[in-house]
Each structure stands twice: as structure tokens, then as C-alpha cells.
Symmetry: C2
Subunit: 408 residues, 2 copies
């Protein structure tokens, strides 16, 4: 008997027709003896519609109330999927996050799962019922509804799979797995059939949108195997995420990612004294602004330049805060650039093999792509570039590392 | 300090604009020192929209899942109203039925409140917060979401008012209180300024749609005063429901009601043996069919005719069951008529004063209205008539009892 935890995203459950198709697909495997816990997102644009409704009231909305409002979306889709199973003569029931035992901390709109208590799910599964769980939501210690923020339903699925020691956590979406690069840019790019947690983590945090890095982190901690595939594809091909980096396949570029949502802030003439970075970045964290890449140039005459990237929608507020700070700290000038992007190559051991960086920079240079910033991590190298160079950059890197396989 | 429990129906919260108007209205009184618990229905047609969504899956839907689906409507409107208070700078929060301590039995889609545990509401009110509660929903002993069925939000409001010993339970709707007859039929009819629970109960169970009879029953049990008024009216006039029947005002017709949703089933030639009524009606109750008026003619030759009324939408299924039963019981024939209605006069002491019935029958007869069935209760007399005679009947009764005040 195999216990499968499956998650279906918003597009997959966008219509009653789609929901019924999912029920039929699961019913086939259920009749062969597999057990199922199914996590659903809200239908299609429901979440956006609810946000727009609330924004008619104010732009500055209470996060507790937003969580109550938004969590209704997953409650609706979970009930409709349970009904669709009934309609096929299969016993099923929907559970809210609270009923499914998803306990979280109290950070509304971006809660973390503290603990999953799956006794109710287990009880229902033992009676051969299919359990449908509303994704994205949980309950805190005061019985307040919370939502898990970005990647929430993926995280619910991996969390439940880990808590129940499921055989597999299957994430179904509108693409057939994880590709070595964006198929919209590189049409014949290969799908990755199997990948380690660490490499997938790097791919997803550098822009691969198929599964949220938070869910991959949770799977890594609990060693939960994840399968990523297409909801409505007949062939069951996709990407399996499991295990650690395979020594045999290390020193190889596994994927190329890009992210067009990059803005840069540059603070010039910062006095080069210890602790200056903390003085700039600690307040930004307090304001809820996530900084991605930070580059500090070596100082000249006791002054240095510092650049960092944020998402484009947080550039304006970041500039306001940083200009105040810069005045306090005696820095010269603060400038912002919102038209940037980043491209990364991801693979085990890249950082320790300098040849990769050289090949990457040369490929970009040959394609006429100017490199604005560079950062390296354990298994990735990332270049910040102009936004309008993304396509040329990804094509050049594909040619250099995937097609010609010119690993150094 | 006055504690006011207010309920706003679906039309009252149909748009963000309306929700914000309610917030402003309440804010004025809040700033003068009153405390508020506010119960809301789902926005406008939300409940119908959700039902239609589910009916795309099946016509035979699981009631547990329907309750989960439908209860999202009130969660949405309650969160939006709480946000609207925040936007006016007032501390407020929304609570689900479960969070508000609304405990029910486990009859999905028509649960009864077993107990209200208002400690959370009290804690918030003590901090001068406005508490907004999602109406219509509760939680059973197994932490399953339930809904209260028809009149559910009215019942939530009266229940909370009773549990908190509130000073007043205010039911806001789209009419300015309870009228002596339907203002659409009798344009200048008077509003009832004050009425006893018993009389209101009779009015609402005989067709006055302003407040559900279930909520009035609960108020009667707990002696909770109810005010019924219009949500967006500037003058604060309406109907106050409280106390017992005033001896001074007894022997007087307080109101005329009508209900166009009446169908009749007639079983002819029923063997006139003891217990025959139970044999017919007990199974109907098991099938969830509510029978309203029952009339049994005196038997002739050991046989009698029996007629009873049901709502029009349950006529077809009732006929199926009753035809089977009639065959078993040896009855002659079963016929149905779906084009009926009923008119009632309501007032204390009517039953004990035969003159009322005579005046009523004469008024209907003079207006050319044929009486199909008659039933009398402690404080009401009801005639079943043809549906197309409703307007003539109500006008005739208005003239006889309200305008000419021809109480016998």
C-alpha cells in the first residue's frame, strides 16, 4: 500500500471541469489500492479577486483579517474536490488546515508551520477515505487562522507528507517538471529527470518557478521525495527531487535560471568603518524588505561603494529608507535601477571549479551581455544583467553549458 | 454602557460600499460608548453562487461538504467588515462561528445551536474592540463546520445576544420593521411598533419574512429584546419585539400575513383506523419533508379524506412517497395541487373569540375568494386559498380588520 500526498495548484483547479478531471485521475489509482491525501490551492484567480475586493477598502490591510479572507479560497476548492470524489462513488472528505492539524506560528500572511498533528488524517485514511486538505492555511496557538504566504500550498503538501512519512509527495502544476532552462526561451531544452534537494533549492531560489524553495527546504530536512509533474498530462513523466548531490554527476551544470524581477540600489561613498553593513541592512529587514545579492567594492581613501538587489516592487520604499540612512552615515549618494534581471547556472561543485565562472562570463560577453554584478554560492553562480538581455543571456548559457556541454 | 448585538443580512452587505456604510453607521454609536457584536450574512448572492458551483458537480451533494463550502461566504463578509472598521481607525476583529464559540449539533445544513461559549467575544469586547461574527455557521463536537440552515444568521445573532445578556439584538434588513400586512399589497399599511414574541412568532411562521421564526423562538426562551429595522434608513424606526401578549391589546388583529408557497396533497378514501395519520406523516418527517397544515375530514363508511400542505418544491417528492404509502394503506387516490397560498390573521386571543373567524370568512367570501382549507391556532386563523386570490384576500382582510377595525 502506497501513501501518496498530492498537491494541485490554482490553475489545475481553476474550473469545476478541471476539478472533476483530477478526481477521475486520482480515482483510477485509488481503485488500485493507493491511499491519498490531496492538497489544493484556491481556484484560478480567486485569491487575486479576494485581494482586489479588500483593496477597495484600503491599501493598508490588517494581516489577520486578510488571512481569514484569503483562506476561504482553499476551503472552497477542497470542498468541491471532495464532492467530485463522492460523485464517482468514492468516500472522501475535505479538511481545513486547522482540522488537518497544521499548526503554525502567529505571523499572519507568512506563517511557518510549527508542527503537524495528522491524527485526523490518519483516522480517515485508515477508513480508505481520500482526504482533501485546504492548502496555504493553518491555525496558531490561539486558534487564529493563518496563511503560509508564498509557496504555501507546496509547503502544506511537503509538511503533511513528512508528518505522515508518505511514500511520495507529488506536486502537480501546468508544466511537466523542472527544465534545465525556461522552455519559453529554449524550446528544446531537456527536462531534469532527477535532482538532489540542494540543487533544486538553488534552482528554485534563483528563479525556477515550478516549486517554491521553502517546500524544497522542508523536504530536504525530512528527506521526503518530491515528484513534480503536469496535472493533465497522460504520460507520467516529470522531475523527481530526492537524495543528496550525486558525486558522479557533480561538477556539471544542472540548470540555468533567470529572474526578471531585480532592482539594484547603490550607495556611493560609504565611510569604510566596521559594522556599516549591519547599519544599512538590519533596518531593511525590520521593514520587511528582503535583500538578495550584496556586493561591496573595496574602499578607496576610507570610502567604499555598496550595491544590493531587491525586488522591483520594493525599490521605491527601499530608496526612501536608504536615503535617510545614507544621510545619517555620511554616504555620498544613493541611486536605484529597476530594469535589471539575473541569470544563474546551478550545479554541484561549481564554486570550487573556477573554470565555470570563466566560461559563464565569456559566454555572456560573446553574446554582448554586460555583467552588472556577480555573486557565487556553493552550487551556483549568478550574474545581474540588464533586463532586456535575459533572452540572449539564457541562450548563450544554454549553448555553452547544456548543448555543447562545455563544462570546463 | 450598552451592549448591542446587530445582524446585517445579505442585501445589507452586498457590496464593499454597503459594508463601509455599515461600518460608518456603527462607528458613530461606538464613539458614544456602546459596545458591539455584529453578525453578518454572506454578501448578496454569494450563497446561491456557491450552490450553483457545487450543482455543476452533482444534484445530490454531501451535506458536510456543502456546509464547508457555504460557510466561506460569511467568513468573507465578516473579514471585510472588520477591515472597514480598521479603515475608520476602530479596533475590530472578525471571528468564525467556531472562534465565537457557536457550538451546534451535527445535523449538517440545518444544525441547531447547542451552546454558545462567548469567552473570546467577551475578552475582545472588554478591550473595546468591535467583534464581527460570521453568521449561519458553527462547529460540532468533532470540530466539524456546520451551518444553521434557514434563518441561520438571525439565530446566530439572537443566540449571541442571549448568551451575553445583551441589552438589545438588532436585526437590520431592507425593510423598516414588521408591517401589519405586506406593504407591496397594502401600500399605506402601518408598521407594528411593538409586538410580543408569541405574536411575532405566529406572524413569521405564517409568512412574514422579516425575521425567521426560529430566531424569535430563541429570543422568547431567553427574553432577549429584538429590534427589527432598515439598515440604511436614517430614522431609527422599526419594530421592537419583546414581552408577552399585552392583555390590554389582546383581542385585536395585529397583522395579516400571506405565503404564496403552498401546495396541497389530498389522500382520498383512507381507512378510518387509529394511527393512520402517524403512518402517513412519520415517514414524511424521515424524508425531511415539513408538513404545515393538516385537515382530516370526518370519515364516512369507515373511510376519511385527508389533506395536508407542503412547500411547492417538495410537492413532487411528497407525491411519490405518499402514493406508495396510500397503496399500502388501502387508500383510494392521491392528488396534488401546487397553485395554492395561505392568508392568516394574527393576534392574541383570536381563537377564543369566534367572531374573528366569522368576520374573516365573510370578508374573503365577499371578495370572491374561495377558501380551500382552514386551520386555527392559539393566536392565528389561517385560510388556504388559490394563489391568484392572494392580493384580493389580503386587501379584503386589511379592510375588515385594520382599516375599519371591525374587530368583533
Amino acid at each position: 500500500m502506497v501513501l501518496r500526498v498530492q498537491k494541485y495548484g490554482g490553475t489545475s483547479v481553476a474550473t469545476i471541469d478541471n476539478i472533476q478531471k483530477i478526481a477521475k485521475k486520482v480515482a483510477d489509482d485509488y481503485s488500485k489500492g493507493d491511499d491519498f491525501v490531496i492538497i489544493v490551492s484556491a481556484m484560478g484567480d480567486t485569491t487575486d479577486d479576494l485581494i482586489n475586493l479588500a483593496k477597495q477598502i484600503s491599501d493598508d490591510l490588517d494581516l489577520r483579517e486578510m488571512d481569514k479572507l484569503l483562506s476561504t479560497g482553499e476551503s472552497v476548492s477542497s470542498a468541491l474536490l471532495a464532492m467530485s470524489f463522492h460523485n464517482l462513488g468514492i468516500e472522501a472528505l475535505s479538511l481545513t488546515g486547522a482540522q488537518a492539524g497544521i499548526h503554525t506560528d502567529s505571523f499572519f500572511s507568512r506563517a511557518s508551520i510549527s508542527d503537524i498533528e495528522p491524527s485526523r488524517i490518519i483516522r480517515e485514511i485508515e477508513q480508505r477515505k481520500i482526504v482533501v486538505v485546504a492548502g496555504f492555511q493553518g491555525i496558531d496557538g490561539d486558534e487564529e487562522l493563518t496563511t503560509l504566504g508564498r509557496g504555501g500550498s507546496d509547503t502544506t503538501a511537503v509538511g503533511i507528507a513528512a508528518a505522515m512519512d508518505a511514500d511520495i509527495c507529488e506536486i502537480y502544476t501546468d508544466v511537466e517538471g523542472v527544465y534545465q532552462a525556461d522552455p519559453r526561451l529554449i524550446p528544446n531544452v531537456n527536462r531534469i529527470d532527477e535532482i538532489s534537494y540542494e540543487e533544486m533549492l538553488e534552482l528554485s531560489s534563483e528563479g525556477a518557478k515550478v516549486i517554491h524553495s521553502r517546500a524544497v527546504e522542508l523536504a530536504l530536512l525530512n528527506e521526503t521525495p518530491i515528484f513534480v509533474g503536469s496535472t493533465f498530462s497522460d504520460n507520467r513523466s516529470g522531475t523527481l527531487i530526492q537524495g543528496s548531490i550525486d558525486m558522479e554527476s557533480s561538477n556539471k551544470v544542472r540548470g540555468i535560471t533567470h529572474d526578471r524581477n531585480v532592482a539594484r540600489v547603490t550607495v556611493s561613498g560609504v565611510p569604510d568603518v566596521p559594522g556599516i553593513a549591519a547599519k544599512i541592512f538590519a533596518p531593511l529587514a525590520d521593514y520587511g524588505i528582503s535583500v538578495d545579492i550584496i556586493v561591496q567594492n573595496t574602499g578607496h581613501d576610507g570610502y567604499s561603494d555598496m550595491s544590493f538587489t531587491v525586488t522591483q516592487d520594493s525599490l521605491d520604499s527601499t530608496l526612501v529608507y536608504v536615503k535617510d540612512l545614507a544621510a545619517e552615515l555620511g554616504a555620498n549618494e544613493v541611486t536605484g535601477d529597476s530594469s535589471l534581471a539575473k541569470v544563474s547556472i546551478v550545479g554541484a561543485g561549481l564554486q570550487n571549479s573556477p573554470g565555470y565562472a570563466g566560461t559563464m562570463f565569456k559566454a555572456l560577453n560573446d553574446a554582448g551581455v554586460n555583467i552588472e554584478m556577480i555573486t557565487t554560492a556553493e552550487i551556483s553562480i549568478t550574474c545581474v544583467i540588464k533586463q532586456d538581455s535575459v533572452e540572449a543571456a539564457v541562450k548563450a548559457l544554454n549553448k555553452a553549458f547544456l548543448v555543447n556541454n562545455s563544462n570546463p
